[in-house]
């Protein structure tokens, strides 16, 4: 038999829970823009956890992991906030914004913005074989040779992964991540 005070508490918590759930749902509803890139930023950050780079890409054991953003930066300071102060596997995370013609191979993770849709194949071919995790957000990104594609669908961000491309580049993507993603072949 539960006593009265405990029941009241539970009701309160339920309410809070509901509100939270509601908030979350609401967050999911209000503008894919604000939430989408929060999520994508988190994904980028998380990708660093599910990816293994070959040791030669790091100058030392605590050399930073560079997350490059090429093209229009859709994240803003979101990604910086997400990444700031984080260390993955001993490597601190750094965000670099790049131009298309910069040395893209200096990144470990490269987010190719939607804006670079036209230049995508050239970029991809330039990156081919380099251990850079290419992340896109365009349809067909993975089919074109990109490694990870983030697609917004049904208010959620879906992941597509071209595992072969990653393997070719010498990158090892965790099976856990692979499991979540739709595997694509180029």
């Amino acid at each position: 038999m539960r006593s009265q005070p405990t029941t009241r508490r539970k009701w309160l918590l339920s309410l809070v829970g509901l509100c939270l759930a509601g908030a979350w749902a609401a967050a999911a509803d209000t503008g894919p823009v604000a939430g989408e890139y929060q999520v994508k930023a988190t994904f980028l950050y998380n990708f660093t956890k599910f990816t293994d780079w070959p040791p030669r890409v790091f100058a030392s054991s605590n050399a930073p992991i560079v997350i490059g953003i090429v093209g229009e930066d859709p994240f803003g300071k979101t990604i910086d906030e997400v990444v700031s102060g984080e260390v993955v596997g001993g490597h601190p995370l750094v965000v670099k914004r790049l131009h298309a013609d910069d040395d893209l191979r200096s990144c470990h993770v490269l987010f190719i913005s939607r804006s670079e849709k036209e230049r995508l194949p050239a970029m991809l071919s330039r990156l081919k074989g380099s251990p850079v995790l290419s992340v896109g957000e365009i349809n067909g990104f993975a089919e074109q040779g990109g490694m990870v594609n983030l697609l917004l669908a049904n208010k959620t961000v879906k992941i597509e992964i071209n595992q072969a491309a990653a393997e070719q580049a010498g990158l090892q993507i965790s099976a856990k991540l692979l499991k979540l993603a739709r595997l694509v072949k180029s």
Binding site: R9, K10, W11, L13, S14, V16, G17, L18, L20, A21, W24, V39, T42, F43, N46, K49, F50, E86, V88, G89, T156, V157, I159, S174, K176, L177, K179, L180
Partner: protein, 663 residues
């Protein structure tokens, strides 16, 4: 249900074994059980922890990439674990991400440990597992497992196992125990059976078959057998001894008995009762009043009373009474008994009946004979007295004889003859008498002769006169003696006052002639004694006899200095004593005691009655006659002691006992 200690030992041992096994098993099982139960929780927890870790690990990606579907899939795999009833993944902000099983609501979630860890809540184990990706929390996994179900199942399972094990163990224990305990109990049972058989049958020849054990049981068996042998031997010895004793008791010529001290009911009577009284011991013992009934009617009351008194005094006793035998004859019984005291109370009376009928008869016979003897003695005494009288008269007659002989001699040799001759001579010379007387030589002697003759004739006369006196005296004495004898036959001696000195002198006088003739010197040593009262004649007779004997002794000695000493005195016991001593032939020591015997005499022609009757007479008068002599040739002294006065007594006819010799 019998109490435990009365159960047979096999049952006991079985129960003990069961108890021990059961207890041990219970303890072991309880320990294991508790251990298992305690372990179960931690096992379950560990198990759940492992599960949680795995799931958490697998859901990192889903959580990181917010793939709810993937997340649900991951935790959905928990269906494989039946104990997991619900699981949910929550994002770091607390919002639910994925669920499995019973939808967990906020209230449910609040039960979980807040950050990480386990909590047992009722029947559930609540597990909170943070999902970390690269040490960063990406979410939380909540697992709810139902452990009670498992526990119950486990307990049930264990319970069955326990039950099975216990049953099996107990069965095994019973089986083994019933086999093995025989090693111990069989010898014991054998012993017990044999002991019981010995007790029931009283057969000490039984033995327990020796077991070959070297342990205490084997030794016990051995000791038991040895004990039985000993008992058997002792029993046999006791039996023999008892038989011997019984035979002894029954062979004693008397009825050995034992009875109760209050009612005299007999508890034991020996077999001699058959022989002596004609009764069976059995009938004596079965009738509590048997003894009392068989007492002679005249003695019954006295006997019973005496018995009670003796028992009350608790001293050994004996007394006599009559009993009636089976054939009706009267039997004199001398009962000797002792009282057995136990705890200061008379417990039993024991003793022996002796048949003294013969002795009693003999006693009465003896009594009769004694009376006869008394009478005969009296008669004999009288005869003796007569003899004594005769002896005494003889003594006196001796004196008479002596006197008359003296007189005759004197007369025969009397000088009267000479006077007659002288007369004749004078007649012859009648004519010339003056001339004859003056001229004749013969004639001249005549006056002288006449004067001499006158003297001699005078002396003769005096002598004759004296003798005649004595004669008369003696005759008087004889008369007295004879009259006394006549009196003696009817009445005892008359007591009269006497002068002891006179009496002694009389006795001497009677023998005086003899003394002078035989040249015996008579010495008198008289002391004064008070007047006495006695039988004068009897005393005189004794004295005469003594003096007579002394004279003979002196005569026989042939001494020239014959002396007779007569003394009178007192002996301090209010008796006067007269001693007559001589220095004659004496008395040899071997005769000193026989001298007073009837018929003893050392003189030829003596009838031996004198001293005997004298001693008798002295005793009769309350005194005694005794003798002393140093031996042959040393003379002898006879002492007569008599009381100054005495009461009249019956004439006693005791046989003379050996007189004390007095110095």
């Amino acid at each position: 249900m019998k109490p435990f200690r009365d159960l047979p030992i096999q049952r006991k041992m079985l129960l003990m074994t069961l108890l021990i096994c059961g207890a041990v098993l219970l303890v072991a099982i309880a320990a294991l059980f508790t251990f298992q139960v305690l372990n179960f929780r931690s096992n379950f927890q560990r198990d759940t922890a492992t599960l949680a870790t795995i799931i958490a690990d697998n859901s990192t990606a889903a959580l990181a990439f917010k793939d709810a579907k993937a997340g649900a899939e991951v935790i959905g795999s928990l269906h494989a674990k039946p104990t997991v009833v619900a699981a949910s993944l929550a994002l770091p902000d607390g919002s639910l991400f994925a669920q499995f099983g019973k939808p967990e609501d906020a209230t449910g979630l609040s039960q979980f440990p807040p950050a990480a860890g386990f909590r047992f809540s009722g029947r559930y184990l609540l597990c909170t597992q943070p999902v970390e990706l690269d040490k960063k929390k990406v979410g939380t996994l909540y697992l709810r497992s139902d452990y009670r179900q498992t526990l119950v199942q486990l307990l049930g399972f264990y319970g069955l196992v326990i039950l099975g094990v216990m049953v099996a163990s107990i069965a095994l224990a019973v089986l083994l125990s019933s086999r093995l305990q025989r090693i111990i109990t069989d010898p014991i049972l054998k012993l017990a059976q044999t002991a019981q058989a010995v007790g029931v049958k009283k057969d000490y020849s039984l033995r327990v078959t020796a077991s070959s054990q070297g342990d205490e049981l084997g030794r016990l068996t051995q000791s038991f057998n040895e004990m039985l042998s000993r008992i058997q031997n002792q029993d046999a010895a006791l039996s023999r001894s008892q038989q011997k004793l019984e035979a002894l008791v029954h062979s004693i010529d008397g009825i050995v008995w034992e009875a109760t001290p209050d009612t005299f009911q007999f508890t034991f009577v020996s077999r001699q009762v058959e022989r002596l009284l004609g009764y069976q011991p059995e009938e004596w013992l079965t009738n509590p009043q048997f003894w009392q009934e068989k007492l002679h009617p005249e003695d019954a009351a006295r006997a019973i009373q005496t018995c009670h008194d003796m028992v009350a005094r608790r001293e050994p006793y004996n007394y006599e009474y009559r009993m009636i035998a089976a054939d009706g004859r009267t039997v004199w019984i001398r009962e000797s008994g002792v009282v057995l005291i136990e705890n200061d109370q008379p417990a039993a009376v024991r003793g022996i009946f002796l048949d003294i009928t013969e002795q009693k008869l003999a006693a009465s016979e003896l009594d009769k004979l004694n009376k006869q003897l008394l009478e005969t003695s009296r008669q004999a005494g009288m005869a003796e007295v007569a003899t004594g009288v005769l002896h005494n008269v003889g003594n006196v007659l001796n004196s008479v004889n002596v006197s008359t002989t003296l007189i005759r001699e004197k007369l025969r040799g009397s000088e009267v003859a000479s006077l007659v001759k002288l007369g004749g001579l004078l007649r012859q010379h009648e004519a010339d008498l003056p001339a004859f007387l003056t001229a004749d030589p013969k004639g001249k002697l005549v006056p002288r002769f006449i004067i001499q003759l006158a003297g001699e004739l005078g002396a003769e006369h005096t002598l004759l006169q004296k003798e005649q006196d004595h004669l008369a005296h003696n005759v008087e004495h004889i008369k007295e003696i004879v009259s006394m004898q006549q009196n003696y036959a009817r009445v005892s001696g008359i007591l009269e006052p006497i002068s002891v000195a006179n009496l002694v002198d009389d006795a001497l006088q009677i023998n005086a002639a003899g003394f002078s003739r035989h040249g015996v010197q008579v010495v008198r040593q008289y002391s004064d004694v008070p007047p006495a009262t006695a039988d004068k004649h009897k005393v005189l007779q004794i004295l005469i006899n003594l003096v007579h004997n002394a004279k003979y002794a002196l005569d026989d000695s042939g001494r020239l200095d014959k002396r007779l000493t007569v003394g009178i005195g007192m002996n301090g016991n209010n008796c006067f004593k007269i001693t007559i001593s001589d220095n004659g032939i004496g008395i040899p020591s071997e005769n000193l005691t026989r001298i007073f015997s009837h018929g003893f005499s050392t003189r030829k022609g003596g009838h031996g009655f004198g001293l005997h009757s004298g001693a008798n007479a002295a005793k009769e008068m309350g005194g005694q006659l005794s003798v002393h002599s140093e031996g042959v040739g040393q003379g002898a002294t006879f002492t007569l002691e008599l009381p100054l006065t005495r009461q009249k007594t019956e004439p006693r006819t005791e046989p003379p006992t050996e007189q004390r010799t007095e110095t």
